[in-house]
């Protein structure tokens, strides 16, 4: 995917918010607003979900997004498609070059199968997602958490059908920028995973910056 930088000035932003490793974040974007997610120290995975703010059942869909562009990885120009077939956001700038939407989010339960039964106690993205969606709307829960985007994460697929979690291609200060094509709510879990190289085994903060249209 091409590298595309942005001319937007963070000092003119509407909102800036650091998200510490392992923390959830929820934010609303009105149509036309721009969200930048910054990988502050590099090699961090930002597990991200998007919902139509007025209809949470119309949410980001990994398979509709993949089908729509007939390609696996997300980059500049990717349109994020919902379960209802709508364009939620468009990826308009990217200084990282590759983002994943196959790897999903870690959970305490999947940690037991992927690594060891003893890893169950470790903090995981699904718990952060559950806190975030419930804080946003108490009527939402696990049912509303679907396959997410992993910004800055590298999950290469080979032509013979293998899938691996590789060391990140991101670096300190890399960012991705998305324009909201309708009113959307963003839910992020800044991934706490310590058992694979998605965070270089050292989860670090990210920052979200929002500009008005």
């Amino acid at each position: 995917m091409p590298f595309t930088s942005s001319k937007l000035d963070p000092s003119a932003a509407l909102h800036r918010h650091p998200i510490l490793a392992g923390d959830p974040w929820t934010g609303d974007l009105t149509r036309g607003q721009i969200l930048r997610i910054v990988d502050v120290e590099g090699n961090q995975a930002a597990d991200t979900l998007f919902y139509d703010s007025h209809d949470p059942a119309n949410r980001y869909s990994a398979s509709d997004t993949i089908r729509h562009q007939a390609a696996l990885y997300l980059g500049t120009g990717t349109q994020l498609i919902s379960t209802g077939g709508d364009v939620l956001l468009t990826l308009i700038a990217d200084t990282c070059g590759r983002h994943d939407t196959l790897g999903g989010a870690c959970s305490r339960e999947s940690n037991t199968t992927r690594y060891a039964v003893e890893k169950e106690y470790m903090h995981a993205c699904r718990d952060s997602f559950l806190c975030a969606v419930h804080t946003w709307r108490p009527d939402l829960g696990k049912r509303d958490i679907t396959c997410n985007i992993n910004f800055f994460m590298n999950v290469p697929v080979t032509s013979d059908g293998q899938l691996t979690f590789a060391d990140g291609v991101s670096a300190p200060g890399c960012y991705v920028e998305l324009r909201a094509e309708r009113d959307v709510t963003c839910v992020i879990s800044n991934c706490p995973q310590l058992n694979n190289p998605c965070n270089a085994y050292n989860p670090t903060p990210i920052e979200v910056i929002i500009w008005d249209s």
Binding site: S63, D64, G85, T113
Partner: protein, 248 residues
Amino acid sequence: MPDLEINSTPDVPLFTKTLSHSGMWSGRISRGKTLRLTDLEGGANVGLLLYHADVPSERYNLPDTLKTQHTFHLRHPYCLHSDMGRVLASITTDTVGWHDTVCGCSDAKLVAAKYGIKTYQTARNEFHRNGRDCFLLELAKWGLGQRDLVPNVNVFSKVIADEAGRLTFVREHSQPGSRVDLRFELDTIVVLNTCQHPLDPDSKYHPRHVRLEVFRTTPPASDDACRRSCPENERAFTNTENYHALRS
């Protein structure tokens, strides 16, 4: 090449149904039974979603299934994992060797653009259906809906990715008579339809006939090929058995 294992199943199925015309079906299949899908004509696609019958918010999970087994495609002896670290179903027999699970399903817009519009008014039961609407129709019968739509399996279809992640549908992948057996490890609500794969370049609308059969099968032994296929699956089987131990 994948290993192929033909399980010995009883000759007489508990249930048989042949789907035609973008056919759709849903049913609750209990632990220990096996669903056999047979592509009667070649070139079939079966869009498949699975939900734990006890708590349907536990459902087939694409990322956990792929990353647990370090694969981009499905085949014997892989398993279909839920989002709770458990196995919903195991692929015990597979004469195809590659099934897609990343491309999702067609929707009304895609079908209209690819095949044209054919309404019931003009075409009666030859009218054009799409995968998304078929899933929603069957999900509704179990009290489920759009909140429960997640990436599905596309049984019998092969899609490969190049280095840049661009996807190509492989034509003539599934032959007439191809079959896949899914042995259920949890009581499962199965929701499926035979709409064509969304990336199938064929401009002709012709969903293939697919036969469904359900057999009663023996539970997985300690040396079961699916259980033993990787340490991750062994742990997922243990999690599944722990669930049953507490429940029964």
